[in-house]
């Protein structure tokens, strides 16, 4: 029953999207961490872990949600000057 509801919700909202932040040579590690804590409200530990993932792996998935939600986050990231893109989950 609950599973069915979740499926309905998913069909209604469409496939989820992911916000990806990419490494870039300019933005400071402290600045990226600050963006993650102040904009997303992530705890410092999570913000630092994501920042390090961006730095060492070249990218990190930072948020998942509906297209509308992720577009809003993406506009904010571009406002902060972060190199960010969005992509459909599973594709």
């Amino acid at each position: 029953m609950l599973e069915d509801l979740r499926l309905d919700e998913r069909l209604l909202l469409g496939k989820p999207w992911t916000l990806v932040v990419w490494d870039d040579p300019v933005n400071l590690m402290t600045y990226v961490t600050w963006v993650f804590t102040s904009y997303f409200g992530f705890p410092r530990e999570k913000a630092e872990r994501l920042m390090l993932q961006v730095h060492t792996e070249g990218r990190a998935a930072v948020a998942e949600g509906t297209r509308e939600e992720i577009e809003r986050h993406l506009e904010a990231m571009h406002g902060y000057g972060l190199q960010a893109t969005m992509q459909r989950v599973d594709g």
Binding site: D24, P25, V26, N27, L28, T30, Y31, W34, S38, E71, L74, E75, H78, G79, Y80, G81, Q83, A84, T85, M86, Q87
Partner: protein, 158 residues
């Protein structure tokens, strides 16, 4: 402790004294950024490296979704970046004795604008060139990097 003139908290605001030369340098860079942002909707500027970096493609594998995102956000983002750069210049011009005092809202505008100025400079001159501190642009870039980092530290201490 403050030997280089970091941003620091004083009386409920983040403060720093800027020299005339520093104000002029930031003013020049900010004017350049505002000029670039003014061309954001100009088809002839579509390949401008600074615009491509500061207003990047949203969905690399989907041109249609990227175009929709750009239609909805590009003008607003360009205006916000222009506004940020102009705000920094206005705050510097209004600073008595060069002392800028920022509340937290203003500090957020500043830290974003300083980042945009660094990105624009590194994109125009080339990251390898600005990372060489021996060139004039490299010195400016290194100073801006230090300045932005000092403001991030102050915001973290809020």
């Amino acid at each position: 402790m403050r030997i280089l003139g970091e941003f620091h908290w004083k009386g409920g605001a983040i403060e720093r004294r800027f020299t005339g030369a520093e104000r002029k340098m930031i003013g020049n860079l900010a004017t350049g950024l505002a000029e670039t942002m003014a061309t954001a909707e100009d088809p002839e500027a579509a390949e401008d490296a600074v615009l491509l970096r500061l207003l990047p493609v949203a969905v690399p594998e989907d041109p249609e979704a990227s175009a929709e995102f750009a239609d909805a956000t590009r003008e607003r983002l360009a205006a916000a970046k222009t506004e940020g750069a102009n705000r920094v210049v206005a705050d510097l011009e209004a600073a008595p004795g060069g002392v800028v005092r920022l509340d937290e809202e203003a500090a957020v505008v500043w830290v974003k604008a300083l980042g945009d100025l660094r990105i624009a400079l590194a994109t125009r001159v080339g990251i390898e060139n600005v990372q060489k501190a021996s060139s004039p642009q490299g010195l400016v870039y290194a100073w801006l990097t230090w300045l932005q980092g000092s403001l991030v530290d102050a915001l973290d201490a809020a």
